[in-house]
């Protein structure tokens, strides 16, 4: 799976990608080379603050690169206009570390936000898909529940569900097991593995505990840091 970069059916391809942060000089990590095909899982790992989140954001053009090229769902990210970039992001499920749930919406509205925004389905279809996603991820009944009633684990599950609801070909997860104990993290990763095998979704994730993530297959890609830099 890691290089060579030959496959034209790759969902995501990183070709020598590195990124930098404004306050730091030089790239955050050594150039990344890998590609993801349908059903693949790549888990990036590194110590905190060493570039996992920026590496993920580069996939959707939300992080400036210092080198290399990202090809996501057949589009070369650096060539896209802001509108085309938004259109690409609608086809990718991205779950940030914070979950990114909107505090002014209840849990159900957060879960269904993307589909309602994209006006891609009828109300009945959205409800049906929401029920299905809740079952797949083990989310309980959301009816009438505000955001404040959900704990950290539930919020993260809903954030994953929100990204997964339109069944994107690529799901990008920034530390989905953050703050979970080992049992809860293992359960989460097994549910994500089921999504991969059942729907053929490709997943790119960052995790500080890659061994848990890789129990049901996948590739571990530790970010390499140039100590001299």
């Amino acid at each position: 799976m890691t290089s060579p970069l030959s496959g034209c059916d790759a969902v995501l391809r990183y070709n020598g990608v590195s990124v930098a942060l404004p306050r730091l000089q030089g790239p955050l990590f050594a150039p990344l080379h890998f590609e993801l095909r349908p059903g693949d899982l790549v888990v990036l790992s590194a110590a905190s603050g060493k570039g996992k989140s920026p590496a993920l954001r580069a996939a959707i053009g939300a992080q400036p690169r210092t080198s290399g090229e990202v090809v996501c769902l057949g589009e070369t990210v650096s060539n896209l206009s802001p509108q085309a970039l938004l259109a690409l992001r609608r086809r990718v499920g991205f779950v940030p570390l914070t979950g990114g749930l909107l505090s002014n919406l209840n849990l159900h509205d957060n879960l269904t936000l993307l589909w309602r925004y994209h006006d891609a389905a009828t109300r009945a279809q959205i409800e049906e898909r929401a029920r299905e996603v809740c079952e797949q991820l083990g989310i309980g009944d959301l009816r009438g529940r505000g955001l404040a009633t959900a704990n950290h684990h539930e919020r993260h599950l809903i954030a994953i569900g929100r990204a997964w609801l339109p069944h994107p070909a690529l799901l990008i997860l920034d530390e989905p097991d953050f703050g979970l104990d080992d049992d809860a993290a293992a359960t989460l990763w097994s549910r994500l593995a089921a999504l991969r095998s059942r729907h053929g979704a490709a997943m790119l994730a960052a995790s500080s505990r890659p061994s848990l993530a890789l129990r049901s297959g996948g590739t571990h890609l530790p970010l390499q840091h140039d100590e001299a830099a």
Binding site: R89, R91, T98, G99, G100, L102, L113
Partner: protein, 283 residues
């Protein structure tokens, strides 16, 4: 150490004295440039929002329209009880002053209501109510969303934060100020009519009073009313969204953004009000 000569002292003094105006000009210049840049940014933000909802109405998503409807409900409808209370007090106090100082002449009372309530106080008080109720709430909401990474999350999910968050709030506030101001005028004039019938001498009837009122109004008042309600509404929301979204990365930045947003919205409101009055009534 060698003592400086009188010539050297004179040159130094002159140099220092001449440096003061340079500093003043540089200071004023920087401040003016900042102000021009700020006004331009708010105008661009508001202009884009209006264009999206007018020229680009067909491309506006149903969810954005739903957010717009909720915004008008929250901003205008929920402000009605407070606006009604202030309108009663304003209408009543204007009539009391008219009775005290204008000998209760119905013609003068009608003129005073148009001059004070319709042209100035109605639009101004309505906009101030909405700055206090909704403008501040908008800065807090946007600021907290910014700090919590919610705006970035929307962007990363392919949702245009400008279309989903800013457009409905800007347009919703514009519409809301017009609605609240209309309601304010109706209640204030109604109160004036009621108080007038109780206080003003003679037996002026409602129809006659309204006739007097209408006679005092011209097309300028209509233009001024919309210029003093819809445009400030857009400006208030534009400033609130801008200040909220640029609040900063920390929770403690949000209250500062609220103060900044409130002061700037108030300043913009009063400046705009004076400018419209001057343009329409002095010209």
């Amino acid at each position: 150490m060698k003592k400086p000569t009188a010539g050297v002292i004179h040159r130094r003094t002159m140099s220092a004295v001449l440096h003061i105006p340079r500093l003043l000009v540089a200071g004023v210049g920087a401040r003016t440039r900042w102000l021009a840049s700020y006004v331009l940014q708010i105008a661009t933000l508001v202009g884009h929002a209006v264009l999206r909802l007018t020229v680009g109405w067909g491309g506006v998503r149903p969810l954005t329209r739903a957010v717009l409807t909720r915004q008008v409900l929250f901003t205008a409808v929920e402000a009605i009880p407070f606006a009604a209370m202030l309108a009663v007090l304003v209408g009543g106090s204007v009539i009391v002053q008219a009775q005290m100082h204008l000998s209760g002449s119905p013609d003068m009372v009608g003129k005073l209501l148009v001059l004070v309530v319709v042209r100035e106080l109605g639009p101004l008080v309505s906009a101030m109510i909405l700055i206090g109720r909704s403008g501040t709430a908008m800065v807090v909401e946007m600021g907290n969303m910014q700090v919590g990474g919610e705006i970035d999350a929307l962007d990363h999910a392919g949702i245009d934060p400008f279309e989903y968050l800013v457009v409905p709030r800007v347009f919703g506030m514009g519409v809301s100020v017009v609605l609240v101001a209309l309601f304010f005028l109706v209640v204030a004039v109604g109160t004036g009519l009621l108080a007038g019938s109780l206080l003003v001498s003679g037996d002026t009837e409602a129809g006659e009073f309204l006739n007097l009122l209408m006679r005092q109004m011209s097309w300028r008042d209509l233009v001024a009313f919309f210029a003093k309600t819809f445009v400030p509404g857009l400006m208030i929301a534009g400033i609130a969204c801008y200040e909220g979204m640029s609040a900063g990365p920390h929770v403690t930045d949000v209250p500062r953004a609220v103060t900044r947003g409130t002061v700037r919205a108030m300043s913009a409101l009063f400046l705009w009000n004076v400018a419209v009055s001057a343009m329409l009534y002095l010209a």
